[in-house]
Structure formats: structure tokens, C-alpha cells
């Protein structure tokens, strides 16, 4: 938008908090907390598909939690790097590395995935939300590779 305010320090901290909250609620298996990070028409794109809108996002992540692919029983965590944020006071983009350590049955820890979150964020009603998140796979263990 031509007349949007510049991206302030508060905006950048709010976007960082949004990105951090995504990981915290996902690892906690909090499906509604996860969905609330997205705009009503929000989009998630991942290696296996695409969700459009909160209902589809809820169904997708709810299934992942139910089969323990994410959430408290998954024995994995989404560890975030520093987001690189650009934009203005109404809309911005962010790119963030994500490392996913996972504990195996014997207690050993491996890193099956390294991702980049490529985000488009919008401020609605004073709150930053994901308009679109692309989950880009950068490095993947052989069992997680699709190529």
C-alpha cells in the first residue's frame, strides 16, 4: 500500500513473536493456537500440499497432531533462526531458518529436516498474522526426502 507506515521496531518484534508462537503452539499440539496465527484466508504450502483458509489448516494440523507427527508426543522441536523481515507497517515478508531435532527411541538426537519458512504477513486489527506460509525443505534426511 502506497501510504502505509514504515515497519516499526514494534512491528518487527510482533512479527518475530508471531513466528516464535507458531513453533511453540505447534510443538505443544495446540491446534487452535496454531490456526489463530493465520488470517482467515491464510494459506500454508508444504512439500506435500496446500491448505487454504483456517478450516483446511485446522484439519491438516489436527491430523498431524493426532498421528503424533507434530506435538508433545512427536519428540521433535521446531528450533528457529533469526527472521529476516522486510516490508511496511501493514504488510511484510519474513524468511526464517528452522532446524528440527528429533529424539529417537534410544534417546539419540538426529536432525531429519532443515527448513526455511517463507512468510507473507499482514496486520489485521492491530495484530500481525500469516497471510501465507511456504514451508520450504532445504535439507532432509533420506527418509524424509521426496526427490
Amino acid at each position: 500500500m502506497a501510504n502505509a507506515a514504515p515497519l516499526s521496531a514494534q512491528d518487527r518484534l510482533d512479527v518475530m513473536a508471531l513466528i516464535a508462537r507458531y513453533a511453540v503452539v505447534l510443538d505443544a499440539g495446540d491446534v487452535e493456537g496454531y490456526v489463530s496465527n493465520f488470517a482467515p484466508s491464510g494459506v500454508v504450502e508444504y512439500s506435500g500440499g496446500r491448505c487454504v483458509g483456517r478450516d483446511e489448516i485446522r484439519a491438516w494440523v489436527g491430523r498431524l497432531v493426532s498421528i503424533n507427527q507434530v506435538g508433545p508426543e512427536s519428540r521433535l522441536r521446531h528450533v528457529l533462526g533469526i527472521p529476516y523481515i522486510e516490508g511496511d507497517g501493514e504488510r511484510c515478508s519474513a524468511r526464517t531458518y528452522v532446524m528440527i531435532p528429533r529424539q529417537g527411541e534410544a534417546g539419540e538426537i538426529a536432525i531429519p529436516l532443515v527448513l526455511t519458512y517463507v512468510d507473507s504477513c499482514v496486520k489485521r486489527g492491530g495484530r500481525w498474522l500469516f497471510e501465507k506460509r511456504v514451508i520450504q525443505t532445504d535439507l532432509a534426511a533420506p527418509s524424509r526426502r521426496t526427490d
Binding site: 521496531a9 518487527r12 533462526g81 533469526i82 531458518y97 532446524m99 536432525i111 531429519p112 535439507l139 533420506p142
Partner: protein, 147 residues
């Protein structure tokens, strides 16, 4: 003497420089990488010293020619942690851990090196860039301290 304290805006700008460095290096974007350094910057890396944009370009292109850094599909990521930033509104230092993630011979994701960036950044014409960076190897074959 600088009369401005290091503001929240300054700290976030510095974090943006550190995030951009990793994203540009890992994506093979040499021009973007150089934007994070002043033209007279000095980079002390594990194998030597690079001076100015020409020297840093040569160093970066040398890494990229090795095939792992900046390759497509991705072969390596510099996963940058939260920086410790101190200084004032014109000059600051930052210390940041960086975990290198890449594939091993079995194509599993592994951590060959944990290093740290010891940076001096200065603000010129309203923009923070790296004035001097020392890259230290803290853990791993390339950087293990001599015993």
C-alpha cells in the same frame, strides 16, 4: 562522541544484517552478501583474511565454487543464533553462534561445525553494516581448539 544510545530499531537492524548474511551466502547471492558489509570491511575467517568487497567477493565465490555453499538444491545452511549486541547508535559489537548443517557421506543431516561470529558493525548514512567480522570455529573438526 556518539550521543545516541543503541535503540531497539538499531538492534533489530543489526539482527537483520546477521540474518541476511546467512540467507545470501546459502542462496549463492554474492551481491546481496556484500550489501551486509561496508566497502572497507575486513573478514577474518578460519583460513585467512578477506579485505574489502573485492576480497570478500573472492572468499565467498571460493566457498561457492566448492559446491556446498550456495548450491541448488541446498547442501548446507548457516543456522544463526540470537546475537549479543552491545554499543551505541553508531557502532556496536555482536557475538553470534552459527551452527553449520549439511549432509554427511550417508546423506544424513549432520553438524560438522559450530562457530561464532565476532562482529563490529557501524552505521553509515543510516544503515548498519559489518565493519569487521571474525569467524571462529568453536566445535568440530575445522575449529576444534588445540589441546
Amino acid at each position: 562522541m556518539p550521543d545516541a544510545a543503541l535503540s531497539a530499531e538499531d538492534r533489530l537492524d543489526v539482527m537483520g544484517v546477521l540474518a541476511s548474511y546467512a540467507l545470501c551466502l546459502d542462496s549463492g547471492d554474492v551481491e546481496g552478501l556484500l550489501e551486509n558489509f561496508h566497502a572497507d570491511a575486513v573478514l577474518d575467517h578460519i583460513a585467512g583474511r578477506a579485505v574489502g568487497h573485492a576480497g570478500i567477493r573472492q572468499w565467498a565465490e571460493g566457498l561457492m565454487n566448492g559446491g556446498r555453499v550456495g548450491g541448488t538444491p541446498a547442501q548446507l545452511r548457516h543456522f544463526v543464533g540470537l546475537p549479543y549486541v552491545e554499543g551505541d547508535g553508531e557502532r556496536c559489537t555482536a557475538q553470534t553462534y552459527s551452527t553449520i548443517l549439511t549432509y554427511n557421506a550417508e546423506k544424513a543431516v549432520t553438524v560438522p561445525l559450530v562457530g561464532s561470529y565476532h562482529d563490529t558493525l557501524t552505521k553509515r548514512d543510516g544503515r548498519w553494516r559489518i565493519q569487521a567480522r571474525t569467524i571462529k570455529g568453536d566445535l568440530g573438526r575445522a575449529g576444534r581448539p588445540r589441546e
